[in-house]
Structures are given as structure tokens and as C-alpha cells.
């Protein structure tokens, strides 16, 4: 490996160790190092590093600062919900707990700078996603900001000290392959593992390029990949058979584990079971979770129809003897006005009940049990209440389920909902 990291102020050995821990990121590490300069020299006061998730920003910085033993404080702004926490963490990392205890109860930036100035000089600080502090201290301090969002969104409106912008580019497919192949299983050969990574990338690369997610998926599915090998059915070099075995499995993973519909534990357990026993993996948003009573199902169907059909078409669908609906040019279906694209519309309770009575075959009395079922549907978040809580006489609702869900429900009651939907006429 070419030693791209060279710098007069730092030990060769340390730099080599740094380079080993940062595959495919030598250029960026080199750039950072050359900007920071030797330990006793001044570096640019403010640097903004941006790039996608898992593109190595914090990793590179952390490795550099730790290995080269530069004095630093790392702050995560997601953790520090108030500025007091931010100040405390910085002072603690730099100067120890004595300085941190000097902060008054609700410290202002003024107190922080005062205490900071009282302490002896230090080197670097790095923080995630914070608005620029614009350090007024004259010491050799660099504030390094790491973020996924570009600097243009953070700039305050009267301007500020502009930081040096550094971009960490995403990994290319080849680089991802190289990095992922590094955590190979010791009992299998490197080529075997890289062919596995190749197949994994082939399925997932067009959807996701996040290194962390890919590593997680690779770790989860490797045992399934090795299964035919262990059972003796194929040899290591039979890539085609291995591919045929793993590909449907990976496709299923995309619909479940990738979306976090099932937890990784459930996934691993499912892999251990035989294929016939596994059956359908129940995800979080699966339909089979919810078992509704008979009238609730019809109420839900009626709500869906009320939400997605315009009110003037009710006559056509639900009355026995309806007049003709004149289809003018205006009514010609334009994609944009398809209600399934715009979302559900609110409807009053009366309309819901009217549609409900016409949809349910048997005669239903308007008892309290019907109304209480409506409120339980709201609690289940299958319906949402649009009107204010105070309005008791004419509440309005919206239907919050998707087309697939309602089709599954209506199939269980033998109701053909698609016939009643205006968009599918």
C-alpha cells in the first residue's frame, strides 16, 4: 500500500497505523492532515466536513485525532439538547472536571468563553451539526463541524466566519466491495467472501449505498449463504448454485429486515427454521395483526369509500335508482386529480353512516355499539379525527389506511371494493 500519508511533524509509524485503519479514505485523511499542519502550527479556525451517512467522516477524524494524540473534544449535538451540556462536555474533555464545575447553573456563552480563556492553551475541537460558535478566543483552536446537510442551509442571515468546506465523497461500488470484504469470516477463503459481497451488492446497491446498513445485511445473511456449502451440496466455486440459493432470500430481506419491519433477531431465527415451517414472516405493518369485528370492517370500508370518492358520486354508487351522471370534459380523468394520489379527504359522520347502511347487506340498527366501534377505529389509528375535540355534533374523519390493506379486509367479507371506487371506473 502506498504511504500517501506523509507529514513532517508526525511519526512515520503512527501515520502508517492511521492509514491502515482508513481504507479508501487516504486522500481525505491526507487533506485533513495537511490542513491541520504540524502540532505547533496554526490551522484554519473553522472546517466544515459534509458527506453522506457512513461515508467515514467521524471515523477518519476520530482515528486521526486519537492516533496522532492531538488534544480534542468531541461533542454530538444530537445528545446535547441544551447549550449547558455542550459547554460542560467541551470543558470536561479539555481541562478536566475542575474547569467544568466552574460553570454556573445556566451558563451563557460569555461564561463559557471566560472559563475557557482562563485555562492553558489547547489544540482541536470537533463537533457534529452545530451552528458555528464563532470562537472569540485567540488560541490555536479549530472547530470542525460534521454534517450530512450542506453548509448553505446553516449560514446565519447576517453572515459569519465562513468555514473551509470539505466534501467526503461517497464510496464507489469497488471501494464498497473492498471495505466489506475486510470483515471476512476466518474459516472461509477471501474469494468466497468477495463473491458473496458481489451478490449482495448486486441486489442492494441500486437501493442503498450506506456502508453501515450493507455491513449489517452482510453479517445477517452470510450464514444462509454458507448453508449449501455446509450441507455438502455445492463446492465453494459453484457460484451459480450459491446465487440461486441466496437470491430469493436477499429479495425477501429487502422487504423485511432492510425496512426494519422485522428485527434482526427474528430474521436470524427464521433462517434457522426449515423452509416449510417459516411461512410468512410477520412484519410490523402486516394485515394479519389486526382482527376487526364484522361491522368494524364495514365501517372501515365505508370510511375508505367516503374518503376517496367525491361526494357527488355517492348517488351513483349507493342508490338503487340513480340518474345519469354527465361526464363532461372537465370530469375526464386527469392523473393529478386522482384521489389516490392526493390523499384521503375528510367526511362528516352522517355521510359515513349513510354509506355504511347501504353497504352492509343486513338491516342494522343505529345503536351505541356502532358508534363506539367508530371511536375504537380512531384509537387504532385506522381513522383520524379531523375536527376539533370540542365539536361534538358534527365530527369529521379521514380514512388512514392504504389500498392494499382495505382490499385485504374487503376480501375477508366478500365485498368487491374496487367496483365502488371512482378512480377505478
Amino acid at each position: 500500500m502506498t504511504a500517501l500519508l506523509q507529514h513532517p511533524g508526525y511519526d512515520e509509524e503512527k501515520l502508517r497505523r492511521v492509514a491502515e485503519q482508513l481504507p479508501c479514505r487516504e486522500v481525505q485523511a491526507g487533506l485533513l492532515l495537511s490542513l491541520m499542519g504540524e502540532p505547533q502550527q496554526y490551522s484554519y479556525p473553522s472546517i466544515f466536513i459534509y458527506g453522506h451517512r457512513a461515508s467515514g467522516k467521524s471515523h477518519v477524524l476520530h482515528v486521526l485525532l486519537k492516533e496522532l494524540e492531538l488534544h480534542h473534544a468531541t461533542v454530538s449535538c444530537v445528545e446535547c439538547v441544551s447549550v449547558a451540556l455542550l459547554f460542560e462536555q467541551v470543558l470536561l474533555s479539555f481541562f478536566g472536571c475542575d474547569a467544568a464545575s466552574l460553570l454556573p447553573r445556566s451558563p451563557s456563552l460569555s461564561d463559557f468563553v471566560r472559563i475557557y480563556r482562563q485555562q492553558p492553551v489547547t489544540m482541536e475541537t470537533s463537533s457534529h451539526q452545530t451552528v458555528v460558535l464563532n470562537p472569540v478566543v485567540e488560541d490555536n483552536v479549530t472547530v470542525i463541524l460534521l454534517s450530512e446537510i450542506v453548509w448553505d442551509k446553516f449560514r446565519p442571515n447576517t453572515g459569519c466566519f465562513e468555514p473551509l468546506l470539505l466534501h467526503f465523497p461517497d464510496y464507489s461500488k469497488g471501494e464498497l466491495q473492498q471495505i466489506l470484504s475486510q470483515d471476512r469470516h476466518p474459516s472461509y477463503s477471501a474469494e468466497f467472501y468477495s463473491s458473496y459481497i458481489n451478490i449482495l451488492l448486486g441486489v442492494f446497491y441500486s437501493v442503498c449505498r450506506d456502508l453501515r446498513e450493507l455491513r449489517h445485511l452482510a453479517a445477517l445473511n452470510f450464514s444462509k449463504f454458507c448453508e449449501p456449502l455446509e450441507e455438502g451440496k455445492v463446492k465453494e466455486t459453484d457460484t451459480h448454485k450459491l446465487w440461486r440459493n441466496i437470491e430469493p432470500h436477499l429479495k425477501k430481506a429487502m422487504q423485511t429486515v432492510y425496512l426494519r419491519e422485522v428485527s434482526s433477531l427474528q430474521w436470524e431465527q427464521m433462517q434457522l427454521m426449515e423452509e416449510k415451517e417459516a411461512g410468512a414472516l410477520r412484519g410490523l405493518s402486516a394485515h394479519t395483526h389486526v382482527e376487526l369485528p364484522f361491522y368494524s370492517k364495514f365501517l372501515l370500508i365505508a370510511a375508505y369509500l367516503a374518503s376517496y370518492n367525491p361526494a357527488r358520486t355517492d348517488k351513483r354508487f349507493f342508490l338503487k335508482h340513480h340518474g345519469k351522471i354527465r361526464k363532461t370534459n372537465f370530469l375526464k380523468k386527469n392523473e393529478k386529480t386522482s384521489n389516490h394520489l392526493l390523499g384521503p379527504k375528510p367526511f362528516p359522520l352522517d355521510r359515513l353512516l349513510a354509506i355504511f347502511y347501504s353497504v352492509v347487506d343486513s338491516r342494522v340498527a343505529p345503536t351505541a355499539s356502532i358508534f363506539s366501534q367508530i371511536s375504537s377505529l380512531v384509537t387504532l389509528q385506522l381513522l383520524t379525527q379531523v375536527s376539533h375535540d370540542d365539536q361534538l355534533d358534527a365530527p369529521k374523519y379521514k380514512c388512514a389506511v392504504s389500498l392494499d390493506f382495505i382490499c385485504a379486509i374487503s376480501r375477508t367479507v366478500n365485498f368487491d371494493i374496487v367496483k365502488y371506487l371512482y378512480d377505478f371506473l
Binding site: P8, S34, V136, V150, G159, H167, S285, G343, K398
Partner: protein, 434 residues
């Protein structure tokens, strides 16, 4: 007297480079003060005269230094203070209080800071004052020395002056200007701000007590002066240890500045911003490439640095998106074209994407709705699309209206640079409608 030729000291190249880095970094990163501020002679004289009158003759004054960011306001003030304090009388008498609008966000905090900087914490002790004015009067009274009839002059420097104008009732400003108008104590108030309309921010009573004296720093130099500045900023001083090396370096800087491509790059920078800070950023990037193996700055370095400074951040982020996310962005662009910028939601975008898949594509797979939803949410996280302000709590995620924060040209440019972009996706992007 024997004439002895001073031997030229030759240091090893490593040491020379280290020293060059040290000197230049101090200039760019540490905002080292020059001997005289360039191009600002009139302003320098004016400010020096004013502060001298305050410090030595006990006159009360107030002045505002106004100029865009990076024009050299703080540098001017620091130079003036440094030169003023070289006079013995000023150094003996003048007390300084430095306040910053970003740090002292409240008048109460500002008062505590003033007390601390004047070293009057013991004197104040636990006293409770009725109003701000009382407190300030007490502080200034306490500065009166025992044997003198007049008290020492105090210089108040207020950085980010416009932020002080946002405090409640502008009490600090009112009181400071009040003291500077009445004959109690010699007080000089110097405000530094980047807003040209700062006087509009002041209340009527505050504005009337202000002397309306403003010093403007409106970087009125041209491109040739800018080039000259670049040359002087990069050149080594005469007292460099290795004279031979310094001469070689300075002549290489001269040739650098005469290069045509470098001049063009600097012209681009000059046209976008004239201030020194962005110049320092550019030169810092060039300097970071100087090493033992490459001991001078070449034109290529400056061009690379210029490209780094002027690159489009969003285009860089677009480069790293997955192909599904890129297709979603192209679908959004088509929706924007057809419906002239009206907001869209996920369902519409997915519909558009499905139309493309049916018609033209053989490289993209028909992904499930949740997978498309996850890609859409990733784009939202990167703030490439933003929800339209509205009742976002009540609508489902798929139907929440969003706007695209990218420009037409940005998307097309990103597509050109996107690695291994399938041709049918590219053609879909180029086609006008659908």
C-alpha cells in the same frame, strides 16, 4: 572597520518549508496584524486621532465602524489600539472593555462582563442596584482615583454592535451613549458592525445621543490591487533565515501571479467576494499542498483550490445517491415541469416512476412501496426536499406535500457526473414531458 560579507545561511529544505508554513499560517489562520493596514490610511488616521483625544485629553466620543464581513474592521481597530498604546500616557490611563454581541446576549450579562473587565468585582460585592443606569454610574464613579479630580478614560469596544440593538429597550446602548454625551467620565464607545443600516435599528432616544460618526470600510480596491495583495500575502518577509530560499520562493510567487489561468481564477474569486477572509481560505488551501517534495506553489495548486472553494455542495451530495433515489429526483423534476412547481407527495412521485418503468425501462426493478418510501425519507433527511408548511401532523406520510430544493441545472449536471448511470434513466431525464 572590516567589511565582512554576511554569509548566506543555508538551511535544509525541511526546515525552510516548516518555517514557511509557520509564517504563512500565522498570516492566514491567526489573523496576524500587519504593520499598517493597506488601503485604509484615511480611516486609520481618523480613528487614531479620535481615540487619542479620548485617551489623553479626556474627551468623550462615540463612533461606529461599518463594513461588510472580512473587510478589515477588527484588524483596523486592533492596529489603532496597538499603535495608541505605544504612547506612554495612553497606556497608563486608558481602560479597555471589550464586549461581543454574540457572547453577551443580554444586558445583565453585559453588565457583569463590564464589572469583571474593569476589575471592580470586589467593589461591587453584593450590592443590589435599582436600575442599569445606577449600576453603570457606580462603576464609573469607582474608577475615579483618589488624588485626581477626573477619572480614567474608558474605552468600550462593542463587536457585533447590531446584536446589542436587539436587547430589551437597548438599555446598555442608551446608557453608554448617555455617559458619552454628559460630562461625567471620559468614555469612548466604538461599535463594530457589518450591517450598513445599523442606524435604523437604534431607537430615537439612543440615536440622538449617538454622535452619528461612522467610519466606512467599503473595500473600494480594484482587481490589480487585489492581485498585488495576493502577491504580498504569499511572499516571505526579508528577515527569513535562508535568504536564497526566500528569494527563490518570492520569484516563484511572482511567476505564479503572472500566469494567465491563475489570473482568471483569481478574477472569478474577486468577482464573487472581495474580502480578505475568502482570500485567506483560498491561499490556505494552496499552502496545505506545500511540502518537502513540492516546495513551491504551482498554478495547478491554485486552480485546484479555486475549484474546491467554488464547487456546488448539493451537486456533490447528488453524486452519492443510490440509483433509486436519483430516479425519484428525476420523477420530481418531471412533475415540476408538468405542473409548474406545485408541491407533490410520495404517491405522485411513485406513480410517475411507475409510468417510466412500464414504458421505457429495462434496467430498473419495480420496487415495493415501502422501499420507495425509505428512499424518499432519506432524501428528506438530506434536505433535498422539504415539506410545505402546513398541518403536517394530520396527514399521512405518503400524502404529505413537499417541494424540491434543487434547480433544474443542478440535476442535469449531477446526472452527467453520476457514475455508471443507466442510459434509459438518462434519456428519461432528458425528455421534456413524461
Amino acid at each position: 572597520m572590516s567589511k565582512r560579507k554576511v554569509k548566506d545561511v543555508h538551511r535544509p529544505i525541511g526546515e525552510c518549508i516548516t518555517q514557511v508554513q509557520q509564517i504563512l499560517r500565522e498570516r492566514f489562520c491567526h489573523q496576524q496584524l500587519p504593520d499598517r493596514p493597506e488601503g485604509l490610511e484615511a480611516q486609520y488616521k481618523h480613528l487614531l486621532e479620535l481615540l487619542r483625544r479620548s485617551a489623553i485629553q479626556g474627551e468623550s466620543n462615540s463612533v461606529l465602524i461599518v463594513g461588510p464581513r472580512g473587510a478589515g474592521k477588527t484588524m483596523l481597530l486592533q492596529c489603532v489600539l496597538r499603535d495608541l498604546l505605544q504612547e506612554k500616557e495612553a497606556q497608563k490611563n486608558l481602560l479597555q472593555v471589550h464586549l461581543n454581541g454574540l457572547l453577551q446576549t443580554d444586558d445583565r450579562i453585559a453588565l457583569k462582563e463590564i464589572t469583571r473587565q474593569l476589575n471592580l468585582e470586589n467593589v461591587v460585592g453584593d450590592k443590589v442596584f435599582g436600575s442599569f443606569a445606577e449600576n453603570l454610574a457606580f462603576l464609573l464613579e469607582a474608577l475615579k482615583k483618589g488624588d485626581r479630580s477626573s477619572s480614567r478614560p474608558v474605552l468600550f469596544v462593542l463587536d457585533e454592535f447590531d446584536l446589542f440593538a436587539h436587547h430589551k429597550n437597548q438599555t446598555l446602548l442608551y446608557n453608554l451613549f448617555d455617559v458619552s454625551q454628559s460630562a461625567q467620565t471620559p468614555v469612548a464607545v466604538v461599535g463594530v458592525t457589518c450591517r450598513l443600516d445599523v442606524l435604523e435599528l437604534l431607537e430615537k432616544r439612543v440615536k440622538s445621543r449617538f454622535s452619528h460618526r461612522q467610519i466606512h470600510l467599503l473595500s473600494s480596491f480594484g482587481f490589480s490591487e487585489y492581485l498585488q495583495t495576493v502577491r504580498t500575502q504569499l511572499s516571505l518577509p526579508d528577515d527569513f533565515t535562508d535568504r536564497g530560499f526566500a528569494q527563490d520562493w518570492n520569484s516563484s510567487i511572482q511567476t505564479l501571479c503572472e500566469d494567465k489561468s491563475v489570473e482568471e481564477a483569481l478574477q472569478r474569486h474577486f468577482n464573487s467576494s472581495k474580502d480578505f477572509r475568502s482570500l485567506h481560505m483560498l491561499l490556505m488551501l494552496c499552502l496545505s499542498r506545500v511540502s518537502v517534495s513540492k516546495p513551491s506553489i504551482k498554478p495547478a495548486d491554485l486552480l485546484d483550490a479555486s475549484r474546491l472553494c467554488l464547487c456546488d455542495a448539493k451537486a456533490n451530495m447528488l453524486h452519492g445517491l443510490s440509483i433509486l433515489e436519483l430516479c425519484l429526483i428525476i420523477a420530481m423534476k418531471h412533475l415540476n415541469d408538468v405542473y409548474e412547481g406545485e408541491p407533490f407527495n410520495l404517491q405522485m412521485v411513485h406513480n410517475e416512476f411507475k409510468k417510466f418503468l412500464q414504458r421505457k425501462s429495462n434496467s430498473m426493478y419495480n420496487f415495493e412501496q415501502p422501499v420507495v418510501m425509505k428512499a424518499f425519507e432519506h432524501l428528506q433527511q438530506l434536505e433535498l426536499i422539504r415539506p410545505v408548511d402546513g398541518s403536517s401532523a394530520k396527514t399521512q406520510r405518503e400524502f404529505q406535500l413537499m417541494r424540491l430544493m434543487l434547480d433544474h441545472s443542478q440535476i442535469m449536471e449531477a446526472l452527467q457526473k453520476y457514475p455508471q448511470c443507466p442510459t434509459d434513466v438518462k434519456q428519461w431525464a432528458m425528455s421534456a414531458f413524461g
